[in-house]
Symmetry: C2
Subunit: 212 residues, 2 copies
C-alpha cells in the first residue's frame, strides 16, 4: 500500500492542489477516484469520511493507524510539515502563507471554481449567478496580479504551498473564457510554476470524472 491515498478527480482543482504537492515532494501516493458526477460526495459513506462532503480527502497510512484530513489548505500545511518542503521557515512566513491560502479559498478559488463549474460543466454561462461569481473571480485575479508585480512567487523567493494552492484552477483559463494575457503577472507566475521540475497538469495526476 502507498503511504498516502488521495480521494479526488482531475477536474477538481482543489484535488489537483494536493496531487501536485504530492508529486512535487516525491511522495509515495495513489489517487482514489471519487465519482463526483454520480453524486458520490453526497452519499452517506463519503459523508462519514468527511462531513463537509467535499474532495480532496487525504489518508496518511501510518504504522499506528490511518490519519484522515480534508480541506486542501489544511492538507498542504500537513504535507509541508511532513516533507520539510514548500512551507515557511518560521512563524511569520507560515502566517503570510496562511494569509494567501485563506484569500485563495475564500476569494480566488472560491469564486473561480463555482464560475467555472457553472459555465463549463453546467452550461450556464449566461445565468446571473454565473456572471456574478465570474465577476468576483476576476476581482480576485486583479488582486493577485497586482500583488505579483515584481515578484516571482506569491510569498517568498521560492515557491510555497501558497503558490500551489492559488494555481489550482488557473491552468484552465479556457474554462473561464479568459486569457492570462489580460493578467501578465499571473501569466509569468504560472509559467514559473510549470517550470518547476516534476510539475504535471491535473489530467496526468488524477482520474477524470467525465470519462467512461
Amino acid at each position: 500500500m502507498s503511504e498516502y491515498s488521495l480521494y479526488g478527480f482531475s477536474e477538481s482543482g482543489n484535488s489537483y492542489k494536493v496531487a501536485l504537492m504530492l508529486k512535487l515532494i516525491g511522495a509515495d501516493w495513489e489517487p482514489i477516484f471519487v465519482d463526483f458526477g454520480k453524486g458520490a460526495t453526497r452519499e452517506k459513506q463519503f459523508r462519514d469520511t468527511n462531513v463537509m462532503g467535499e474532495v480532496p480527502v487525504l489518508v496518511h497510512h501510518k504504522s499506528e493507524g490511518d490519519f484522515t484530513l480534508s480541506q486542501s489548505g489544511a492538507i498542504l500545511t500537513y504535507l509541508a510539515k511532513r516533507s520539510g518542503k514548500f512551507g515557511g521557515a518560521d512563524e511569520m512566513e507560515d502566517l503570510e502563507i496562511l494569509r494567501w491560502i485563506l484569500f485563495d479559498n475564500h476569494k480566488l478559488t472560491g469564486y473561480t471554481a463555482s464560475a467555472r463549474f457553472m459555465r463549463t460543466f453546467m452550461g450556464k454561462a449566461d445565468e446571473p449567478e454565473t456572471k456574478f461569481m465570474h465577476a468576483r473571480a476576476l476581482s480576485a485575479f486583479k488582486v493577485l496580479d497586482a500583488h505579483l508585480d515584481g515578484r516571482k512567487w506569491v510569498v517568498l523567493d521560492r515557491p510555497t504551498i501558497a503558490d500551489i494552492s492559488l494555481c489550482g484552477y488557473l491552468f484552465w483559463p479556457d474554462h473561464m473564457g479568459i486569457s492570462w494575457d489580460q493578467y501578465p503577472n499571473i501569466k509569468s507566475w504560472l509559467e514559473n510554476i510549470q517550470a518547476i521540475e516534476e510539475w504535471s497538469p491535473s489530467e496526468e495526476l488524477l482520474p477524470s470524472a467525465l470519462a467512461g
Copy 2:
C-alpha cells in the same frame, strides 16, 4: 498606545471575529474605524496596508516595530499563539482547527457575508445572485449543524478559534431572514459562545459604518 490596533467596523463579521478574540483573551487593544460605506477599503492608502483591500487588519505594536496582518483566520491563529488561548494543544488539534477555519472562510462566512450584505444592506433580497448565495449559506449551516450534533464546541471540548471564526456572522439571523430554530445544534452552540465570560456582541466592540 495600545498593544494592538484593529482596523474594522461593527457590521463586518470578519472584523468582529478578531475583536471578539481580543476581548476574550483580555488584550490591550483599540479599534480603528474604517469607513467601508464611503469606500475606504478601496482607496490607495488602505490598499497599501492590505493589497487584498479588506478588513480586518491587525497591527501589533511591538518594541521592534509594527507587525501588520490581514485575513481573520491568520490573525486568529497569530493571537492564539501569542496568548496561549483558544488554539490547539498539538499539531493534530491545530490542523483540525485550520480545517474548520478554511470551511468557514470558503463556505460558511463566505456565502453568509455576501448573502447578508446583498439582502440587508443593498436591499437585493429577490435578486438571483442573492438567492444563490443564500442557498449556499444554508447548505453550509446544514453541514455545521450536522457536525455539532452531540458536541458543545466545533473541534475540542473547549472553545477554539474555529468557534470564534464560524460564529462571526451568526448572531445576526434576522439579517439572513432565518431563525436558528431550524438549526437546533447551531442554536445551542451559539448560546454556549454567548455564555463565555467576557463575550460581547459586535456592536459593543467596534464602531458602526452606518452611524452618522
